[in-house]
Symmetry: C2
Subunit: 470 residues, 2 copies
């Protein structure tokens, strides 16, 4: 029997997108690890009826577990605890131990922020200590306690759904989760859970329709794909194939993966969950090679992405953001004459930026990016989305290079973000020993060198384009 759960994310600010929900996805991973099937996430605004409707929807679907995030704060629009209490048929009571505990937490705060309205704090304290009678209370991480609330014994007689009430800030929600799982109510739910296996394959440089074809080939070759749950998606220009199956279907999955491997050997870059970011970081760390970048249109995004991972200082001394042409010349040593002759968005300038980054930061490897992110600045010959990227490695003789032009779809943010993905894949290939033949011009990149179909449109040109739509 499989146990199913639903997540309710509260907050008009999430519904309208002013805040991106990080809790639904995080909870999805946790549920998966516990063998619980995540059926739905519902985002609701701050209205009692909408929240109640979502809880009712999940209950009617027969879900055994409901997790809510948000709505435990001190303001009047934070009403989750009360609504869940009503839903489960439990009256609200002040829990004095919890009130005292919160007051203790707030004392430190009152010392640090002496000008705050004490009355406001005291009310917030009390509000957050009013809970459904008989609920399991999870100790606060901030000031809000969490709750695990089973239906009142007097209601329909079912022990399900159990509702887990967690605070909205991801840091608090995540810290509180283990305590929620340990409650008797949660354990009762888990008694029926089964286990799954899953694996993710990542590919870069083909359209999604090719995966559809590969799935048909597998099916025609006798692989029972119905035993697998396979989803494919395009993310930041890469295709992810995620498969999930019950332990008995291990052989089916292996057969499917074999078909993917044989058809897409040149573009399958990850089969162990590692992103290209992690792969590049691991290669740099293990080889002792350092990388620097000089960015124009990406404006620092590649440097920011390279330093997202802890420990980046081992291989990343720094970077240059050379937005103005003068900065390209003065900081990265790109001759002004080169810019005048070929334009700032050109193969020559991309190469010079890569070399200049190496020189300025004393790094073995340099990355240069120059392009037109839009919305303005495009021309017929160089439309918005045209980006030149070059990576070069100076600790070998002759200097090893990979240089590509891509035409990226989408708006300014898409073009900038996608450029960093292309740069990381070029960096990965360079570190694996690939390089352009010396003297070769890069205007027509070869298919083999970057794992992309031939033609001037690079791999990332396809998302949202005519193939791989969706």
């Amino acid at each position: 029997m499989s146990v199913r759960a639903g997540v309710v994310v509260t907050g008009t600010e999430v519904l309208t997108g002013r805040v991106v929900d990080r809790n639904g996805p995080w909870l999805s991973d946790q549920l998966f690890a516990l063998g619980v099937d995540h059926a739905h996430t519902v985002v609701v605004g701050d209205r009692d009826d909408d929240m109640l409707a979502a809880l009712g929807f999940f209950a009617r679907q027969g879900l055994e577990l409901i997790i809510t995030s948000g709505g435990l704060g001190p303001t009047e629009d934070d009403r989750t605890a009360e609504i869940v209490g009503r839903f489960q048929g439990r009256e609200m009571v002040l829990d004095e131990a919890t009130e005292a505990r919160i007051w203790e937490i707030l004392s430190g705060l009152r010392t640090r922020w002496p000008h705050l309205d004490e009355d406001a704090i005291r009310r917030a304290n009390r509000k957050q200590a009013v809970v459904p009678r008989g609920a399991a209370i999870l100790p606060p991480v901030g000031t809000a306690p969490g709750l695990v609330v089973a239906p009142a014994p007097s209601s329909a007689g079912s022990r399900f759904p159990v509702v887990v009430v967690l605070p909205g800030p991801p840091r608090e929600l995540q810290a509180m989760w283990p305590a929620a799982v340990e409650t008797a109510e949660f354990r009762a739910v888990l008694a029926g859970a089964s286990s799954y296996r899953s694996k993710m394959l990542r590919l870069f440089g083909i359209p999604e329709s090719e995966i559809a074809a590969t799935m048909r080939v597998a099916r025609e070759g006798g692989v029972d794909l119905d035993a697998l749950e396979i989803t494919t998606c395009l993310r930041r220009g890469e295709i992810e194939i995620v498969s999930r199956w019950e332990p008995g279907a291990d052989d089916v999955y292996r057969a499917f993966e074999d078909v993917v491997r044989s058809r897409h050997a040149d573009v399958l870059f990850s089969d162990d969950g590692r992103s290209v970011d992690t792969q590049v970081a691991d290669m740099l760390r293990s080889s002792g090679i350092s990388v620097a970048c000089a960015e124009s249109c990406t404006g620092g995004l590649l440097a920011a992405r390279l330093t997202e991972l802890d420990g980046a200082s081992e291989y990343f001394p720094g970077g240059l953001v050379t937005y103005a042409n003068e900065a390209k010349s003065e900081l990265a040593g790109v001759p002004a004459s080169l810019i005048a002759e070929h334009g700032a968005v050109s193969e020559e300038v991309a190469k010079a930026l890569a070399d200049g980054a190496r020189a300025a930061l004393h790094a073995e490897v340099g990355v240069g990016i120059t392009g037109i992110a839009g919305p303005g600045g495009g021309t017929e010959g160089k439309p918005v989305g045209t980006v030149w990227l070059s990576v070069s490695r100076g600790d070998v003789d002759p200097v090893a290079r990979l240089t590509r032009r891509v035409h990226l779809p989408g708006g300014r943010a898409d073009v900038r973000d996608r450029s960093t993905t292309v740069a990381l894949h070029l960096l990965r290939r360079l570190l694996m020993g690939e390089s352009d033949a010396p003297g070769e011009r890069a205007a027509e990149p070869s298919a083999a060198a970057a794992g992309e179909p031939s033609g001037t449109h690079g791999p990332a040109a396809t998302e949202g384009g005519p193939v791989g739509d969706e």
Copy 2:
């Protein structure tokens, strides 16, 4: 009468968070502009039953309009059109005009990517042209047509809910939206919609509990807050207060805003929807002042944020990412002795980075950021989250400066992101003419200068902390 809508976002990759949904929030804004109330967003995985359950939930809620995004692609798990057809009681038929249209679009593709499997493309073509009989067909932006599907005349007799079926890629969905709104089916829904007004106030430098107190003060002062729909949230360290009301309640809103203004004059920085990013950009552009940055812990994020906006080249020549100490010295001219004496994370180094950025990029204003983003590197005196920020302006005599130390909560990504928010607010205040008294040390920032309560904990230290929990 108010018209209510629900959004169904499909895709296991969204449910599990591998892809962040941008369509729900975008659609929410569009619905709001049309006077339609956005009640729920449901995220469902790629399973027919879950999708049908979500549609049924919305129908039972009495929603007049349902919008789906995703599931129109060429792979086998893309099943939205068929499920919506079944839900509305309409059989699926091949639309030959649409098939021909898609084939035309694909021809360009086949020229550009000659090695693709032609059979795969032809099947994808046909699949995407099979639609519910009688549905309004929206011309493809990629290859997938959109649909507007009313219930079949033979079903229960209601004209609602109308289901609008849109592709998943935000670029396609957004481009297709106007055509959807123009259909007769959609217009029939809009006939019942009313209009709302809304306004957003942004504050920086107080905990959220203070807003709760302000709302009580307003209520006690006779402001009928029940006539307003008010939501508050913390986003990137700032508080947003969004109010929505029907036209008759204009006076109530004005009275509420007056209370907020009188209590929070020093921290209310935006009342016209402009973000601090836009305010800074506007001030730089109108004054002809340029800004450069030298970043350590943020690793390029501030430069990336400054160049997010189109036209940044008018005031942003570039930046330095000085991760290694040698880079701080060589590129930003920070004396190695200064680093040795005070440490890389110090007031002195932050100031020197700001000045060095100005000098290296020939900018009037410089920003320096140096801190400990974690998870490693913290000490007792400088724990993870300690960040020194300095802004300086060299076109006035003496040089104007604002320098602050903050202790930011959360993980590595939070500390890095929040640092850029603090930097932008310092930049804003500097451009508005504020500066520290010459010779003043910044270790104990004054409350007035940065709009924050006194003490060494800066404004952004509060999110997820003991106050403003949620």
